[in-house]
């Protein structure tokens, strides 16, 4: 219970400061609470609560030795947790712990200023973990509140309503905003992402991996996370041609397909027909060394290389959003002249499994005149027999999973069909492999970008035909052509469609489109605003990139101009009210005297002024006195004749 005794001012002041410091620290730490080790947050919370109890219930504060001990323990604990005291995570954890310890000895304005500045710094550190729009939106009121906290901590009146400071803080921050924008746009950028300090921030990315097993792609169908976005320059190909190639899987172990051990180097000859497709991809982190391109890429980014399988490989794992331009031919084949050993590799199968499938393949091989016909046989089987395309295929068990799928369950997602098809082809002696990637994409009407989501993940097959090379065959299309032509939602039974809600309610879809376009714009223009974009922006403004003198002048002019604008607004708002005629005439009278070296001091009353004038120029005394008396009557007594005053002033020419 708080006693009813009036608290002395000092105590109230310190409580107020403590509360505001806690509010600011809390709001700044909150977004990264989940990124830090749980014990850091727990300890910080405990110390903060203890400090509150000390302020309101008289608990003792930690003494110097305890503080020192806890401080050292914080260093040790952070070191043991992160194996370093450096780096963003260890650094912020340490900062948060030491800031809460600082609460234990904070006293007076200076200490609380320091704490609030630390809170603001922790706020900046939030962007190390997360650079999305929601966090940016969160930080706006957070910075506002922290600024208000700075004002409240410094304000001597403890009874002042806290919201008054919010208003003042807004007035202070708003003029700062355009200055921040100017600096953001024009201040020279260092290469590399603004916030990239190499955090392991994308562990647990959902997306493709380097192998494929039954279930691994249907799992992705549940995620509507963006895999990448595409902007076509010129027209976009029809949906059925939107095969986004990621990896080619060669090896089958009886259960899953993988890329295999032998590195595939070299370049396989490409035969292309039709027009090139030019586009720019903004790839979300995929934790792979692969860039996704439209089947088949011809011109790829400089830092990437093309494998013989026409995969686009980069030297570093993609852990940050990456933008690149590609030229592809959608109607093309490669590897017509592939060597025998390369083809033979794609004929390998594990021994002694799936006897029925092998038997079926042998049967086709015996009857067929060409490999094309074997391919057709397989596709016809998928089409004619009761195979169904579903997200819930049931689990395949045991040694002979292909047999189980082909002759028993007959329910599968694209990985089942691609896998079984390639198995059948190899068993029939037709070189074949699995390709994984994405198929399709939705155009956002708001910004014209195509979004390809994880749910668009797909697996298909390529078979080698002597005269054409590797040819794409999509067995899923044989089962359910709608998957390729109209997308996943059209192909699946209605109850299984992921993101069903968005499709059932167009307005929800519209919200999603808007949000998507906003995120994309944020990525393209804010987060990706590095030297390259900046250079373009400079060019558009007619500035030379790298001319520091010019830049300094432009910055000086712009920021100076903004400050001048603020100044003008302030002047305008504090302008004196329009004066009535009597005042104007009196001012004119004063100006005339001022030209004669007898300026009225701003604080000088009219009679005092008249007296002073009369002393130094007795010849004007009578006139000045008459004008002054009438002015005083008009202005201060509400009496007198304004016309007469006007006449008197007009007649006065010293």
């Amino acid at each position: 219970m708080n006693s009813a005794l009036p608290l002395n001012l000092e105590t109230r002041m310190e409580r107020l400061r403590l509360s505001w410091a806690l509010v600011a620290l809390g709001i700044m730490v909150l977004p990264q609470a989940l990124h830090l080790a749980p014990w850091v947050i727990a300890v910080a919370l405990l110390i903060a609560l203890w400090r509150l109890a000390a302020a309101y219930r008289g608990w003792p504060l930690f003494n110097r030795y305890l503080r020192l001990g806890l401080g050292l323990a914080a260093f040790l604990g952070v070191y043991l947790t992160y194996r370093t005291l450096n780096g963003p995570e260890a650094g912020t954890a340490l900062l948060i712990l030491l800031a809460t310890l600082k609460l234990m000895e904070a006293k007076g304005l200076r200490d609380y200023f320091l704490l609030l500045v630390i809170a603001l710094f922790i706020g900046i550190a939030n962007f190390l973990y997360d650079q999305t729009i929601p966090l940016a939106l969160y930080m706006v009121p957070a910075v506002w509140l922290a600024t208000a906290a700075l004002l409240n901590v410094a304000h001597p009146d403890v009874t002042r309503p806290p919201m008054a400071a919010m208003k003042t803080a807004a007035k202070l921050l708003l003029p700062a905003l355009p200055v921040a924008v100017v600096l953001f746009l024009l201040f020279p950028r260092v290469p590399g992402p603004l916030w990239g300090i190499g955090l392991p921030q994308h562990s647990g990315v959902t997306g493709l991996s380097t192998h494929m097993a039954p279930g691994s792609i249907s799992e992705l169908a549940a995620s509507d996370a963006i895999a990448f976005r595409v902007k076509f320059s010129g027209g976009a190909p029809p949906p059925a041609q939107l095969y986004w190639r990621a990896l080619v899987l060669h090896d089958y172990d009886g259960r899953s397909w993988s890329i295999g051990d032998v590195p595939w180097a070299g370049h396989a000859q490409l035969i292309s027909r039709g027009m090139p497709v030019r586009y720019e991809v903004t790839l979300e982190p995929n934790d792979l060394r692969v860039l996704y391109t439209l089947d088949l890429p011809v011109e790829i980014p400089a830092d990437a290389r093309l494998t013989a399988d026409h995969e686009v490989i980069v030297p570093q794992m993609v852990t940050e959003r990456k933008r690149y331009s590609v030229v592809s031919y959608t109607d093309s084949n490669y590897g017509a002249g592939a060597s025998a050993w390369m083809r033979d590799r794609d004929l390998l199968l594990p021994q002694r499994i799936d006897p029925h499938a092998r038997a079926l393949a042998q049967q086709w091989k015996a009857a067929a005149e060409s490999p094309q016909q074997i391919v057709q046989d397989a596709l016809r089987m998928f089409h004619d027999q009761p195979f169904s395309y579903t997200l819930q295929p049931g689990k395949l068990t045991g040694r002979n999973q292909i047999d189980q799928f082909l002759f028993d369950t007959r329910r599968g997602f694209c990985e089942h069909y691609a896998g079984a098809f390639v198995f059948l082809m190899r068993a029939a002696g037709v070189p074949a492999h699995v390709v994984i990637g994405y198929q399709g994409g939705t155009r956002n009407p708001l910004d014209g970008y195509y979004s390809v989501r994880q749910e668009d993940a797909h697996a298909w097959a390529e078979v080698w035909l002597a005269d054409r090379g590797w040819v794409r065959v999509d067995p899923t299309a044989a089962v359910d052509p709608a998957r390729v032509d109209e997308g996943l939602a059209a192909a699946l039974p209605a109850s299984e469609v992921p993101g069903y809600l968005f499709r059932a309610h167009p307005w929800l879809g519209e919200i999603r489109n808007t949000w998507d376009a906003a995120n994309n714009g944020w990525n393209q223009w804010v987060l990706a605003y590095g030297p390259a974009l900046q250079q373009r922006f400079y060019a558009r403004l007619g500035l030379q990139y790298g001319n520091w003198l010019q830049l300094a002048l432009v910055l000086l002019l712009l920021i100076g101009g903004l400050l001048a604008l603020v100044w003008l607004v302030l002047i305008w708002r504090h302008r004196p009210p329009r004066s009535p005629a009597v005042d104007r005439q009196y001012r004119r009278f004063c100006q005339r005297l001022a030209r004669r070296g007898l300026a009225r001091k701003p604080y000088e009353g009219p009679f005092d002024y008249a007296e002073r004038v009369g002393r130094s120029r007795p010849e004007w005394h009578a006139q000045v006195r008459a004008i002054t008396s009438l002015y005083a009557a008009l202005r201060y007594s509400g009496t007198g004749n304004p016309q007469e005053f006007s006449r008197l002033v007009a007649a006065f020419h010293p």
Partner: protein
């Protein structure tokens, strides 16, 4: 501010009363030489109905000024000399048991008069001081549960030695605020001092004084003063002054609304005495040092700047709108 402003003067119904006040000023001027501005301000304070604090070193005529005003105003008058052993009962009075009546009877103290001269208030203990200051504020006293009103009008003229003198209890700020004005007398100038040394004893002169104004007339004057026109322009000026004290970092605390009201009323009384139909900035400027001098403290921390200097700084910082 003694210049002629008859042009602004109007035929006030209270012209006769104002004339009497000018007589008072002239007579008082003959006794306390060279202190006309202070005498005028003292009268303005009394016409406004406020209490007056005169502060200066001993021997510059504080008591004489108070006595002169008391005599000329024709009010019932009591003088209380404050000492360190003064008790509240010595000021207010006490109920005393009377054998013949077999009961308590209230013996009123010296406070039951129209004009009280509280000499050297800061020599008494805070207990005695607060008895006086409470009476000043409430204009009534309560003894043994019975509340007794004080006479009308009721003025206190208190004198006080500067605080750094030995054996004094300085009045706290909240109590200083009860005084409408505080004046300083200061040393007389060369010529006044010469006349003073040559002339008769001041006390004898005092004895010869006759009341010029009655209590009734004083109350009428006060009413008249409240009628003096206060224009919007002047209110703006007054508010600008007050706002400046609140916003400028120079001052520890700004002027209170009570101080603002005091300023307005005092300026009205000053305008009345000057014969102005409405209050002009000069009226406000004249009364301002007396009204705000004891209410404003500069933040500089130095043993406070002279109140007159503080007031002058304030005036020069605020332009007349």
């Amino acid at each position: 501010m003694s210049h002629d402003r008859t042009a602004a003067a109007r035929d006030l119904p209270a012209n006769a009363l104002v004339h009497k006040v000018n007589t008072i000023i002239a007579q008082a001027n003959a006794i306390i030489l060279g202190k006309e501005p202070q005498i005028r301000l003292g009268l303005v304070c009394l016409i406004t109905g406020g209490h007056l604090l005169i502060e200066d070193i001993p021997g510059v005529g504080k008591t004489t000024l108070a006595q002169t005003l008391a005599r000329l105003l024709g009010l019932s008058y009591q003088r209380i000399q404050f000492t360190s052993d003064l008790l509240p009962a010595d000021i207010i009075g006490a109920s005393i048991y009377e054998q013949q009546n077999s009961g308590f009877r209230f013996h009123p103290g010296p406070i039951f008069a129209q004009l009280i001269l509280a000499d050297e208030v800061n020599r008494a203990t805070p207990k005695a001081q607060s008895a006086l200051l409470e009476a000043m504020e409430e204009r009534q006293v309560t003894v043994d549960g019975v509340t007794r009103p004080l006479p009308q009008p009721f003025f206190v003229i208190a004198t006080q030695n500067p605080l750094h003198q030995v054996g004094t209890f300085p009045l706290p700020e909240s109590q200083l605020d009860r005084f409408l004005m505080r004046l300083e007398l200061g040393y007389p100038d060369e010529r006044a001092e010469h006349d003073l040394l040559q002339g008769r004893d001041r006390r004898e002169l005092l004895r010869d004084l006759q009341p010029v104004l009655s209590a009734h007339e004083l109350l009428a004057l006060r009413e008249t003063a409240l009628q003096v026109h206060v224009s919007e322009a002047l209110l703006q000026y007054l508010q600008a002054l007050v706002r400046h004290t609140r916003e400028s970092p120079r001052y520890e605390t700004g002027l209170s609304p009570r101080a603002a009201i005091a300023l307005k009323h005092a300026a009205q009384a000053q305008a009345l005495l000057m014969g102005h139909a409405g209050v002009v900035p000069e009226d406000l400027q004249t009364v301002l040092p007396g009204v705000v001098g004891h209410r404003l403290r500069t933040r500089s921390g130095r043993e406070s700047a002279a109140p007159a200097a503080v007031a002058q700084q304030l005036l020069e910082a605020v332009p007349i709108p």
